[in-house]
């Protein structure tokens, strides 16, 4: 859409590289990349963690960590070369004035001890001769623009009083205080929930058009770029491997990495597929020089030349090129085929399986008392309100919801680690609280989100995996070790790492180890708590595949907690949607995802960003954002955000009802579908 404006380039980067010296060697974060951004357009930089995309962004205004060294042929911004600008000039003329920047972590990116107002205003007063009041006017105006209700009063608030989404909005407003020509957004939505993410991206798009800004959007999420960027550049190991117009790149990827990456995204090729394509291995160490193509070691098509010679840059057309030897030309389909074959090996769609309930959660409620602040009083926080759920043998039940909706409390309760105030959890017909911990442990095991915190850094992988056996005194040491090795084989861990420590493993391997630990006593139910959200797309694909395979081999039952709808799409047989401690909708995957009953579910589905270039970012059409659980709204907890809410919703909470075998809690459930469509 930016295209109809003047397409002269506003930013032109030539052969930029960033080196970070570490105590042992130097890490080449960015290896001489070149980029061009046209005025009024959005350039999406995509890449997995460690691909150097953020470094690139920071390098532009030289905001790199003190140790890092930047070298560049030229960074010409509006004709002036930033490489020659002194720190002084950058600070006084460019930063925050002509180039604004938004960071990933809204939680930590605002100074906690100063009020929003001060932080907004100083951005302006620092650079321009403007009065406090003018700055304040501007600040209020922008807060309005970024969609914060009642902006005037916000000025007095402090960051910790705002939700993540609100903070990110403030960040945006702050970046726009001086009407910059260029806005750099570094993973602006990664830390946010789905609905918020959609809102923010939508907002950015609008603002960009309104102010005629150019934008660099850095993200790992192909879905996001596919909607939000005009051009994209795919980065791998500090290099740009492919670039061009978004649609072209995504529909006809030419670099094997791009292809692989797309294969990894669940739902990229429809839901039918149970097995994802995945890029084997991990990003190579970025220290030292890489001979040949950095991707060679992971490339399915790599030939010897790839390992020896630096691949050539092949331009297909103006601004559309990729870097590859293309040993034996293959169309993307082939790789897709291999993936399909793989898919076909797996047994027929498991969504058909139906077992009898193995785990039932019945009307569980749970409330915590929390003190806020040094002088604060203890206030109740209702984490779960009368939650009921059944988990059938052999199925995958996806539990979807935004952060703070009570997912983790629910899982903890199910594992018997959290005592509910009322209601009961029954596992194999026995009340969980009556189960002795040992027995319970044999039946149900968790897999956690963050493989960096779920493994004890002081224990070797071997110790970690054998731990359950040790605790339960199952078998002799030898037997335990043998068993551990079997499991490691099963989850695809090289037995070599038996004696190494978690720090020495990659994220993927850690997660495999975690899975191994969970499965070693082959439990019946496995609680997967966001098992992939901390991982890169390619690794996520590996893990998802693994989980599915394991389920078939050890016929496991998964409760799969996630916020990533494409993953749900990919994994789940049934879906339960949670909002503010309640299950608002629960039913078969397709039922729920294609024809959601609850307005919230509906909004969720709308805000899911599948890879579909050309389509714009949808507006989930949700008012405000996720309320603070400390003060739940009366009546239907969703009513403040619900487009359909009326008197009834505000006053009395709806009970669960079964509408074409989907459980829904909404007064408008029957009609909502049609209303929301229109």
């Amino acid at each position: 859409m930016g295209s109809e404006m003047s397409t002269t380039s506003i930013l032109d980067i030539q052969n930029l590289s960033v080196d970070i010296p570490t105590d042992s060697s130097t890490l080449h974060a960015v290896r001489g990349i070149s980029l061009e951004l046209n005025r009024g357009e959005t350039l999406g930089i995509v890449g997995e963690s460690g691909s150097g995309k953020s470094m690139t962004a920071l390098a532009l205004m030289n905001l790199l960590p003190p140790a890092a060294k930047r070298s560049a042929g030229c960074i010409s911004f509006e004709g002036s070369d930033l490489t020659h600008a002194t720190e002084q000039e950058l600070a006084s003329k460019i930063r925050g004035q002509r180039i604004g920047m938004i960071f990933q972590e809204p939680m930590t990116s605002l100074n906690p001890v100063y009020s929003i107002g001060r932080q907004l205003k100083e951005t302006m007063t620092l650079h321009r001769k403007v009065s406090e009041s003018e700055a304040e006017k501007r600040a209020i105006y922008l807060l309005e623009k970024v969609g914060l209700p009642d902006p005037a009063s916000r000025l007095k608030q402090y960051p910790h009083e705002l939700s993540g989404g609100q903070r990110q909005r403030v960040m945006i407003a702050m970046a726009l205080m001086n009407e910059p020509e260029l806005l750099i957004a570094d993973e602006p939505t990664t830390a946010l929930d789905v609905t918020i993410q959609a809102q923010i991206l939508h907002l950015l798009r609008e603002l960009q058009q309104e102010f005629g800004m150019s934008m660099i959007l850095i993200t790992h999420d192909l879905g996001v770029v596919s909607r939000a960027a005009d051009h994209i550049a795919v980065m791998y190991a500090g290099d740009i491997v492919e670039t061009g117009r978004t649609a072209e790149v995504l529909e006809d990827p030419r670099h094997p990495y791009t292809q692989g990456l797309l294969e990894c995204v669940p739902g990229y090729r429809g839901t039918s597929q149970q097995r994802l394509g995945a890029i084997p291995g991990i990003v190579p160490a970025m220290t030292g020089t890489i001979s040949g193509c950095a991707f060679a070691s992971r490339c399915p098509r790599a030939a010897d030349i790839c390992k020896t010679d630096t691949p050539p840059t092949k331009a297909l057309q103006q601004g559309r090129y990729f870097v590859c030897h293309e040993p034996n030309i293959q169309t993307p389909e082939n790789t897709a085929n291999t993936a399909r074959e793989a898919a076909n090996q797996t047994p027929e769609d498991s969504a058909l399986k139906k077992g009898e309930p193995i785990l039932t959660v019945d009307g569980v409620s749970c409330t915590f008392m929390v003190r806020r602040g040094l002088f604060g009083k203890r206030k109740p926080l209702q984490a779960m309100d009368n939650v009921s759920l059944t988990l059938n043998k052999g199925e995958v039940l996806a539990l979807v919801g935004e952060s703070g909706c009570g997912k983790s409390t629910l899982t903890r309760t199910i594992m018997g680690l959290q005592k509910p105030d009322s209601g009961s959890v029954t596992l194999n017909g026995r009340r969980i609280e009556n189960l002795p911990p040992m027995e319970r442990a044999r039946m149900i095991q968790p897999i956690f989100q963050d493989p960096y915190s779920s493994l004890n850094p002081r224990k070797t992988i071997g110790e970690i995996i054998t731990k359950p056996l040790a605790v339960h005194r199952i078998g002799s040491r030898q037997e335990q070790h043998a068993q551990a090795r079997r499991i490691m084989e099963l989850v695809g861990l090289p037995t070599r790492v038996f004696n190494s420590y978690p720090d020495q493993l990659s994220g993927g391997q850690r997660q495999r180890a975690a899975i191994g630990r969970a499965l070693i006593m082959n439990p019946e139910v496995v609680i997967c708590d966001e098992p992939t959200s901390a991982l890169d797309v390619s690794v996520q694909a590996q893990i998802l595949n693994l989980l599915l395979d394991l389920r078939d081999e050890m016929d496991l039952t998964y409760l799969f907690v996630t916020h990533n709808l494409s993953v749900v799409q990919h994994m789940a047989d049934r879906v339960a949607v949670m909002y503010l401690g309640e299950i608002v909708e629960c039913g078969d995957r397709d039922q729920v995802m294609t024809d959601p009953k609850h307005p919230y579910t509906h909004a969720l589905m709308d805000s899911a960003l599948s890879i579909s270039p050309g389509e714009t970012v949808p507006d989930p059409g949700l008012a405000g954002d996720f309320p603070n659980p400390m003060n739940r709204p009366s009546g239907c907890p969703f009513h403040p955000r619900c487009p359909l809410a009326d008197q009834q919703c505000r006053e009395q909470a709806p009970g669960p009802e079964l509408i074409d075998n989907t459980l829904v809690q909404c007064w408008k459930a029957k009609t909502s579908g049609s209303q929301l469509k229109s």
Binding site: A302, P437, Q542
Partner: protein
């Protein structure tokens, strides 16, 4: 190996993972620490000095030229050899009872180290235990511990120690125990906060899910993660304890005479400090060197072991 990559099945993945890891499997934490240690000067210097002093302390009976208790009144207050009137027989001169000063200083190292290590160990046992309890179990236990801490902090510790020693009576063991019993707060605070942090980590939840008891988790899962920090505190507390002992002895409430303690020697020399300054200066310097060595070691250990999670 690339051929296996063509097919996208599990084993294939594993194979490549393996081969991938081959070239960048990092060092184990201990190895990494040792590697860093090799290039850390402070640590090496500190360790060096400490070793020398430890050797003197251990083999004092063989290394000391005289019996540190051997009194020889006619030869009292001899100056060191480099001062006129000094003799080669008594390198550092003699004290007010004609005892060989060098020998006493050598034996002094023994006392200081014993006390330092002893006291720090006791403090560690108290502090870490309480810290774990407070941090992991929380609740009223935490309150109780907190109360103890306030008591401990609110009363000037030196006064407290003096009062205790004064009343219980002076002896090496008393000094060790009293100093130990009054220097556990640092351990406690660190252990507690670290425990609070660790408690929230998933591996603890995982252990719970395995059916481990609270105690098992606290000791087997949490404690190992504190070892580094505790080690650092330990070294620093050893230094503190040594200084405390010296101060106590200096004030006449520490090691009983005639045991050679540096602090005591300074106190004894103080009377004549304008005229036989070495009586005060020599033990002071030994004390300084020992403590600085320990601190260097402590800082070194911290730099080397406690890896910063950032970048």
């Amino acid at each position: 190996m690339m051929t296996t990559d063509q097919t996208m099945n599990k084993s294939g993945l594993t194979a490549t993972d393996a081969t991938q890891e081959e070239n960048n499997l990092g060092l184990s934490p201990t190895m990494a620490a040792l590697k860093r240690a090799r290039s850390h000067y402070g640590l090496k210097i500190g360790l060096g000095i400490l070793l020398v002093m430890a050797i003197f302390a251990l083999f004092a009976p063989w290394l000391a030229p005289h019996d540190p208790y051997m009194q020889n009144l006619p030869l009292r207050m001899l100056p060191p050899v480099w001062v006129e009137g000094g003799s080669w027989e008594y390198l550092l001169g003699t004290d007010h009872l004609g005892r060989d000063y060098l020998s006493r200083i050598i034996y002094g190292a023994r006392i200081s180290m014993t006390i330092g290590i002893g006291a720090a160990t006791i403090g560690m046992i108290i502090g870490v235990t309480l810290g774990l309890i407070a941090g992991y179990y929380g609740g009223w236990l935490d309150q109780a511990v907190n109360f103890l801490v306030t008591c401990q902090l609110a009363v000037p510790s030196l006064l407290l120690i003096m009062a205790l020693v004064f009343v219980i009576g002076q002896s090496i063991t008393v000094v060790i125990f009293v100093i130990g019993a009054t220097h556990w707060v640092f351990y406690l605070v660190v252990t507690r906060s670290a425990t609070l942090r660790l408690r929230e980590l998933d591996f603890v939840a995982a252990a719970q899910a395995m059916g481990c008891s609270k105690f098992q988790i606290a000791v087997k899962e949490v404690l190992p993660n504190l070892v580094n920090q505790i080690m650092v505190i330990f070294t620093l507390e050893v230094a503190v304890a040594i200084l405390n002992e010296a101060t106590l002895s200096f004030l006449g409430l520490g090691i009983p005479s005639p045991i050679p303690s540096w602090g005591l020697m300074i106190a004894e020399g103080k009377q004549a400090m304008f005229f036989q300054p070495w009586l005060v200066i020599l033990p002071g310097i030994s004390l300084f060197i020992l403590v600085i060595a320990i601190n260097l070691l402590g800082d070194g250990v911290r730099d080397v072991t406690v890896t910063n999670r950032r970048n």
